[in-house]
Symmetry: C2
């Protein structure tokens, strides 16, 4: 029996899994992502997480047939470049090579959102659909499209649904551009906007909840808690985000007429079905074929989807449409 | 040698072609689209145009192996529903059946923009690209996506790039929705907006040119002429349209990372390379991977693309991805 490792490298946490056949979770470990240092420090924590997951599974790391890791930033030929939200990672770091030496087993890396979408397409909410749009709503908003049951990566960079222009000359996005959906919906952008509104004298319990939970940023859990408490500013900002996500998703559906929209990511999974329903409703006024709206569903693999998807990188059946044809497995590559 | 007929039914004109191998044009005829009456009157003009094209080719209509026709409106099972811009066509009309009886040869019909895109993908500007976005800029703005060299039709309704939301709560579109790209860029919407601005006292030669050319609407040629003359209002409105088209196209490229954008349609073809360059430039600030922008090219089949594409409906190799899998050749079907 071959067992595989999967690591999801996030801005807040590192999730490692040991997976058996049919994605059965044999072992799991979670570490905090370092907030200082550099790529080598992050890689060391990834190694620790993978070793802890192996221990949890009762196996040696050397027994893993391979390890896949999903990373933010630009992933190419086993390297990761400009991983925002990770400490000291402005340049390029040979992450796959580094982890392979540290763990002593084959390592492949892929884009975090890309592998999470792949997991949903093949083993999660997307299994029932021949075509779908994935919207991964977290610090940023990533995503992607699956067509005929396979993820479409284009020339390697497909999936940037968060950078759909929903407002000409609109809000400044963290990417520097104007009017992107992420500028309204990304957790990072929402937090910056909330701080600005508070500076202008608006009231909210968001930051009180943050301090109470000993956090230094507005996590998905804090947004969920604030909504439960009926916090008006939080409600206003989530509504603004829902409208932006819905406009971008409806535009993509108008162009591609996919069967479903799969909502994932930290905020998407945490806010779950109620927010999926809100997005579905907010899409309606923008859908050209509004008599047959696509299903809007929450990612079923939840916050393990990233690590499960990463493990698919080292499994034989891994695949994605598009750049693979040119020999370049976009968004993922071996060390 | 099999020869085929192709008819492009537009809001202004009906273009019929007789095509031989390699899409060689053997005969051609053009009629004005009736502005009054109903679907039967339009169908009669289509028949006349096809007969005139056959005469031009020196053949009998009965020698055609088949005739394909592209129509605006919702095309399903050989019928056309709600063809705006065509007289008295609010309901459903069995166009394929009607034409087949009139012409005595097999007839298939498809969506006008869909067949024009198919023509560009297989025989025009799209031939060199494995993936592309088509933007057909005319009275409305239609389009579509080709992936791995095949048009993607989704559940049958893909391609509505004109109904990409580029402005939340923005201008009212002719489709009734708000903030659609077409509300800024469609020739219909532009004309309505120009009339409003003139009513408010703004100056333009657009309507003077219209009367001089004995037209009752602002055709692509009139817009081109006004731009050549340096008409400020025309320039302002084309710039506004270019920005909207560019935002929608860039958003689609961010999501799909296609290799090229093919610009077709009456206005796209008439304004040609200079406007393709403007759209390309206006896309740049919105492209996530701005170091490798897609090519932006004008449709090479020009205003014959619609009729050529329509003829492909009755040729053996006709195909499109998506709904075809479910047995429903979306956007086209036999009588």
């Amino acid at each position: 029996m071959s067992v595989y490792g999967g690591i999801d490298l996030g801005g807040t946490k590192i999730q490692a899994l040991v997976l058996g056949p049919r994605n059965k979770v044999l072992g799991s470990a979670r570490m905090k992502t370092p907030t200082s240092g550099g790529p080598e420090d992050v890689a060391r924590e990834m190694e620790r997480a993978m070793r802890a997951a192996a221990e949890d599974a009762g196996i040696e790391v050397s027994e893993l047939a391979g390890v896949g890791a999903g990373s933010p930033g630009v992933v190419r030929d086993g390297t990761v470049t400009s991983a925002r939200n990770l400490p000291g990672w402005d340049g390029t770091f040979a992450l796959a090579d580094h982890l392979q030496k540290a763990l002593g087993v084959p390592v492949k890396i892929g884009n975090d959102v890309g592998v999470a979408l792949e997991a949903e397409v093949r083993h999660g909410a997307g299994r029932r659909y021949a075509s779908l749009l994935g919207v991964f709503w977290g610090t940023g908003v990533g995503g992607g499209v699956a067509i005929d049951g396979e993820r479409w990566v284009g020339r390697g960079g497909a999936g940037e649904i968060g950078h759909t222009v929903v407002e000409l000359d609109g809000a400044r996005c963290t990417c520097g551009r104007r009017g992107c959906m992420e500028a309204y919906a990304g957790r990072g952008a929402m937090e910056a906007h909330a701080r600005k509104l508070v500076d202008r004298g608006q009231k909210t319990d968001l930051f009180k909840l943050m301090r109470k939970q000993d956090r230094d940023r507005l996590t998905s859990g804090i947004w969920a808690r604030a909504l439960e408490q009926g916090d008006e500013l939080a409600e206003h900002m989530i509504e603004r985000a829902v409208k932006a996500i819905a406009a971008a998703a409806a535009s993509a559906v108008n162009l591609l007429d996919v069967e479903a929209v799969i909502l994932g990511g930290g905020l998407g999974v945490r806010l779950g079905d109620p927010v999926a329903k809100r997005i579905s409703k907010a899409m309606r006024p923008h859908l050209f074929a509004d008599d047959r709206p696509p299903q809007v569903e929450v990612a079923t693999l939840g916050d393990l989807g990233g690590a499960i998807g990463a493990s698919l990188l080292v499994r034989p059946q891994s695949r994605a449409r598009g750049a693979r044809r040119a020999g370049a497995r976009a968004g993922s590559s071996s060390a």
